[in-house]
């Protein structure tokens, strides 16, 4: 059995989660602080979650294709996105981004405004408020968003196959391998990938629940003490 889809998947998912993490946290902070046009920008940022993945993939092909806005620029410096594993990373990042962004923004919005104001009156700079107050206070939300984004990136299929194609050993992820095996009538192989994917996904959710539980317990213990 060829295990390359496993390694392609993990590599793509980890890199995509890494990029999505920073993009998501900063976009969440940006939208959270916006006074005008919040709804519009929020809609745009959430769109990849709602659109059919093939539609997202089609847009990405337009943007990253050789004649596309970004694709053209990258082509000049010799980087190709379409039909490479970079493409898989781009597709996974875009599709996972709304989960990271929305969960983090929700966590930021939960932070008591008075605490932010208190920090301001005490002379904390903006970046100090962000790194020392907002991010630590939204920690569990950010972690949950990261886990969700990782799970989504790992299971990404539609946009990936449009942008990166299905090249065994290079762009064929586990999710795509299931599709390939099933359409080639190789039920056994399809089943193997299904089991592996299900186990990883299940493990991620368990981990996330553990994280949020331990957080609650911490808070509860502090309350009881007081």
């Amino acid at each position: 059995m060829d295990f390359s889809p496993f390694f392609v998947s993990i590599r793509v998912a980890i890199l995509a989660t890494f990029i999505t993490f920073f993009l998501g946290v900063f976009s969440a902070n940006f939208v959270y602080k916006l006074k005008r046009g919040k709804g519009m920008i929020d809609s745009i940022f959430t769109l990849p979650m709602i659109l059919p993945p093939t539609v997202v993939g089609f847009f990405l092909l337009l943007i990253f294709g050789r004649n596309g806005l970004i694709g053209g620029l990258l082509h000049q410096i010799g980087v190709q996105i379409v039909f490479t594993w970079y493409g898989a990373v781009v597709a996974s990042t875009v599709v996972a981004f709304p989960l990271m962004y929305r969960t983090t923004r929700g966590a930021f919005e939960q932070v008591d405004q008075n605490i932010i104001h208190a920090a301001e009156t005490l002379g904390f700079s903006r970046s100090k408020i962000f790194w020392r107050i907002k991010v630590p206070m939204a920690k569990s939300g950010i972690l949950a968003g990261t886990v969700l984004a990782f799970a989504r990136a790992l299971g990404e299929f539609g946009a990936t196959i449009m942008l990166a194609g299905n090249i065994p050993g290079r762009t064929q992820t586990m999710a795509i391998a299931v599709f390939s095996a099933a359409s080639a009538n190789n039920r056994e192989l399809a089943f193997t990938w299904v089991v592996i994917l299900s186990l990883i996904s299940f493990g991620t959710i368990v981990m996330m629940n553990r994280l949020s539980d331990s957080n609650k317990n911490n808070k509860k213990r502090r309350k009881d003490f007081g």
Binding site: N114, I115, H117, A118, A119, E120, G123, F124, K219, F225
Partner: protein, 351 residues
Amino acid sequence: MSLYVDIKKSFSDFELSVKLEAEDEIVALLGASGCGKSITLKCIAGIVKPDFGKIVINDDVVFDSEKRINKPPQQRKVGFSFQNYALFPIMTVWHNIASVINMPKKDKEILVAETIRALHLEETRNLYPSQLSGGQQQRVALARIIVSKPKIVMLDEPFSALDTHLRASMERELMSHLEGFQGTTLLVSHDRDEAYRISDKMAIMDQGSVGIVGSKEEIFADPKTVAAASITGCKNISKAEKLGDERIRALDWGIEVHLEKLHTLKVDFVGIRANHIEILAEKKDFEEGYNYYQAIVVKVVEEPFKRIVYLRMAPDAEKTLTAEVDKTLQISAGQEVKIRILKRRMICLLQ
């Protein structure tokens, strides 16, 4: 001058219009909930931006709508104590205080240790805010403010989150810690007793605007407006009609009131404080300077240390008079009593 505020801001449901000047003293902003007290503090701190006006803290113009000056909270040096104290929940007491200080590590540690000792927080230094009692949380909030070296201190309902029995002692403690502070202290409160005890000067706020500013003694003796009278705890207020130079008719109570002298040309309302009504248990000789009345006791309500007596002054009266009397006075509903009120205690009020 330490603080100058003259600002306006429109909200969908009310208009904020505040004019306030304060020296290095404790000023209480007294007003009912929702009258705009907290918003005023937030405007001064730079958290909320007024539409028009000017704010000057110690000769430093921090806001001026004409000159387009609007300094961020970080540059205003305002010590703001929030109603819920707004401690950083992710930091221990020590870090809550230390995070405010920008000094080399060694100096910082000394300063934090000193502050923690001064505010009796030694035992809590490694605890998180959620592990602290209300009083301890307040002291941490104060410690943070002290190390931030503010030019003015603003306390938003500092005792509202505490249990009643703790308030009095925390009040004394808080004020003793603030004693050394040179600068304006602005206290927001809806509790007239608290405001009276703590402050030097008072500003009465009503529906978004500061009506009266003056010494607390002045305001309690002569509140001037209906809003100020009721926020300073005047329980009896009636519509009034001027009859002569020193005579007015209290329309809601159905009685005529004699004044020592009419100090305003116009009188819309008349007020009597509940503790200024004297119920005469036995016959007393007539004395100058009093208004005498016959009244019927409608209801008596027992309180731990006093009795509240509701009196009907005339058969067709719209409102009863509320009097506070000593527990030693035996009185029951239905009884007819003689009462007297000092003429100079009558409060003439404008709308």
